[in-house]
Symmetry: D2
Subunit: 339 residues, 4 copies
């Protein structure tokens, strides 16, 4: 940690800061420059971080040197983490995992029909929402427990593991029973109580990036889960909020190489929610493969006009199938595979 | 609702859209322009909104005319809402209510000492966090239930009602017992399960704007609370996320007149969290009064160096007292009062 | 154009608006809904746009139906535009054009050596800055005219056409003499006087998107150039400003399919400036090819440590060469070519 | 400057960096921490900044300690700068200067009539655009030289000095002749050639903040002007681009106290352009006074329906007059004056 002093900081103020650093069991290191004096703190920065040095007289600013997270960092674990979802289905390995399905579970028949279609095209995991976070209280809120059961039936029929969103810590028993991957949505990325609860389970968690959260925030939210003991964490970039309004969110595709540099966790991309419009899903999916994503979460619906949620962003099964072909080609160029 | 058609939309596609509108019990109105054909929907737009017209062939875009919220809107209720917090303490009336206190409850003595100080200067409500949403799992997470009890004791001693943050629906009984206003933090503004739960109570709710949420999103979150039956909703602007990094967030001060135009709900400002630095708190507080805010949420701490959370943004009691004086002057110029 | 009226708009106010529409030679069309009355304007929206209807009493908001640009739009020209840069070098066709070179021209020898290297790897156009827009007045501002001459010499030796940035309308004669493509930088995307001046030439223009400009703004800036008569306009996405700080800007990769839907102009991507860090350049370049970009603008430097500008984002020639191989593979999967 | 090394940095890499620092005539200072090693550079950071240390092997990141600007900084000049615009009219002193007038000069009679009205209400400077930067080439571009002459005539009649926007360096002679303050618009804040040119004059410059520019960028653009010798620089906050769409831009009101902490230059606020809607102008103007702005730039028009540009954001003269009264009251509370 570097404490930058104001030009007018007094000796007494400097002494006071140094004393406090010693009290924490750390060693201050003073560097008197021509225009600025700084105090470096050698040693474990975590200890220093609990002290609000910005509030000390004479301090202009405080710069962190060390990363604020541990378990999620590349330094903690050099090799990429591979998260096992089901027998033979792992995220973070050489194979890129495609998760597909409807935005919302609407009824059993449609769900199974879509599941069969995406499975045939090569998707390995079935996505579908039973509990839906909707901006408006007047929008369809999901089939809830009934939807969870439909997902479970679709799993039994197709053999595909299920990823679905959890919104309330009180629903965890239901998710332990029916889901294979617990999704934490963008709007709950900093719902820390929920993160702690899924951290206490050992289910794989798919953590979506909040629409206004930096990658540092994102990794700290993953740290919440892992520090509770659940190392099965998959990160998902799904677009951030910017001024651009032709797409619903702005896909931050750079997040993939940035996270891969900072962390060992796998990263997948959701091209459906970020764009909000189906004809952008194919180019963004191909870009996601090329940039190095470990998986994709794609919305597929066989009758988007009748979808109860986000119809405009769903691909029809035949378009999804064509996209899978192209993605396989790109995966092969960069030395990876798609089933 | 206006459905804008693609230039190449066919008659069959137009017919298909019109049929669907009739099915919903609404009346389509076709306008054929030189470059674009549009279909207006006359009648209750809510009914049309459930249909994903963007997913229909031939549709270029869909424009909403009516607001997506009801109970929070000015059209639903013309006069400003006045929310009663405690006998003689109302937010949204002519008096501007100052809520002050430490970021976090640290111990009973300090809390009571700060409470007495802010009360003496004119604050009407005591703020203090017992459950703390922290970006890092390694930061101090609050005293939790113990903190709630300290707040309750401070209330008994000072007579000040308490505003404190709720993060987990399972803690509601605790909040019903010990708090006067339930705060929903920015990170939980779209934690819809939590919104529904506080909507089922009749306690006043202070809903903070999410850092990446538009005012429309914000009003829809308030609509979640009110549509469950709890009309005691106070909105709080606390800064949005932008590229500017000299302040922690960018205070969107325009949100006050904008919300007052769209809604009857009272709006308060939190100048401490948005700036993150104490010496910006006074100018922003004065601006908040001048722009028309109904209240302020200000962090005050008697020893910021020792604060367990957000020390750098806390005002010392004597600075808070001086600020109160100036704010009273400004309130008087615009025809309002501060105690 | 749709004029949405306030619920309380009077008959007199409505009449006044209708009269004004008639005056403009257009036809108002009133639709009285249950909660809102709207006035549609049938006919050429351009004529209506000059009138500030938002300022009329009784008006709540105004919605544009037609696009505000013409020449750049897909409706004006259905087939993609192909811009000829030099004999056999066209942007917007099936071949993806790679433009590479140093950020800044530093000296003749280095420039020629880099030019030879990138040419050997398959780059078709040489990039290099002679006039440099630098945030700080104390940063190196470029070799200016001397740099232009070095670029010209590099062109004579390598046969590669030159793309380089213009900042001042007074330098146009120099650019007409020495450059093949005039680059307008992000900071000048709304320097309308400069746009008009390059619009008067017939040189190909590479227009970079401003860091805070929507795609609509971007297309309108291109419209400035084309409406002056210069149809040789290439658009370049180079990252927008967001809150994320691990990269210098956030590459808005969705801009490629969005622009291709709205416009016939070719779109290239600059992965070097948006990330600011060389090891993100390769994954972003591959993503750019996969998403459908018509070209790339990549910084290459043989000794980044000594670069006078933006060294940290430059690829070394051997890394650039390896990247070209991978990009060729991806181009082939999507049915395109790279030399 | 602090150079943070990668955990795996080798001794050879460290030596190489230290050698380079010595070469620059500076002194490296190595601190070996438990998890990170850093190299501090003692001495003039400017010299170190020209070297792209991020591009050196073994370097993880580089942190600046010193501010990148000089002349604009509080450390360079402790007392606030007071910029003289005309005899008895100074920006940055105790008096808050109100600049008002139409967005665009439309004709002589209207301009003079508005000028007389705003003068009567207490405005000290007349604003009005002759050269207009418009997003669309089809919008009214201003009366240009003719508009400048009308402004000059209005000045002769009313005695009010003129502030008007310059867009092209070739028009400087015209501005030297007819204007009193040269405005550089938001879209040209990083048009560095234009900044250098106005830096060579001695006319007061009103520099508007770019819509995507940080305060650091803003101060560096002012540094361009001052480093050319023109110290008469007034900064203007006019809103930044964010995701919020109920206002045209988001007024960053915190910019006033932030800039006043970092710089000695006066800061004014433009509440008309940031909101884009006249009924937000009054509350934002009052907030601007309360937050400590040194002046305001307000659009006033006597017939907004007929305004050729930005009619919806203009105040009518009687509303402006009422606002002036309230602003005087607020100014007095904070110990300042308005004429």
């Amino acid at each position: 940690m570097i404490i930058v002093l104001k030009p007018e900081a007094t000796k007494k103020e400097i002494k006071h800061i140094e004393d406090k650093i010693h009290e924490l069991g750390l060693k201050p290191m003073l560097s008197v420059g021509k225009e600025r004096t700084i105090i470096g703190i050698i040693g474990e920065e975590d200890k220093a971080r609990i002290q609000p040095f910005e509030a000390f007289p004479g301090v202009e600013s405080v710069m962190q040197i060390q990363k604020p997270y541990k378990f999620v960092s590349r330094e903690f674990k050099k090799e990429p983490s591979v998260i096992k979802i089901a027998p033979g289905i792992e995220v973070g390995g050489n194979e890129i995992i495609i998760m597909a399905g409807p935005c919302t579970v609407e009824n059993k028949e449609r769900l199974i029909s879509i599941a069969n279609a995406v499975k045939k095209s090569g998707a390995k995991v079935l996505r579908g929402g039973a509990f839906k976070p909707r901006t408006s209280p007047y929008s369809f809120q999901g089939l809830k427990e009934k939807g969870m059961k439909f997902l479970y039936e679709a799993k039994k029929i197709t053999g595909m593991p299920i990823v679905t969103e959890l919104m309330d810590p009180r629903d965890i028993p239901l998710f332990l029973k029916y889901s294979d991957v617990i999704q934490i949505g963008a709007r709950n990325m900093q719902n820390f109580e929920l993160l702690k609860e899924v951290g206490k389970t050992r289910k794989p968690v798919l953590l979506k990036r909040g629409m206004a959260n930096t990658i540092k925030d994102f990794l700290l939210s993953a740290e919440y889960i892992i520090s509770e003991g659940n190392h099965n964490c998959i990160l998902c970039e799904r677009g951030i909020r910017t001024f651009e309004d032709t797409t619903r969110f702005t896909l931050d595709i750079s997040a993939v190489p940035v996270i891969k540099k900072l962390s060992h966790l796998p990263v997948v991309i959701d091209p459906s929610h970020c764009s909000g419009i189906w004809d952008y899903v194919a180019p963004l999916s191909k870009a996601a493969i090329a940039v190095g994503a470990d998986g994709l979460l794609i919305e597929v619906h066989d009758d988007p006009e009748k979808a109860l949620c986000d119809g405009p962003q769903a691909l029809k099964p035949h378009k999804f199938d064509a996209l899978m072909q192209e993605m396989r080609g790109i995966a092969s160029v960069i030395g990876r595979t798609i089933a």
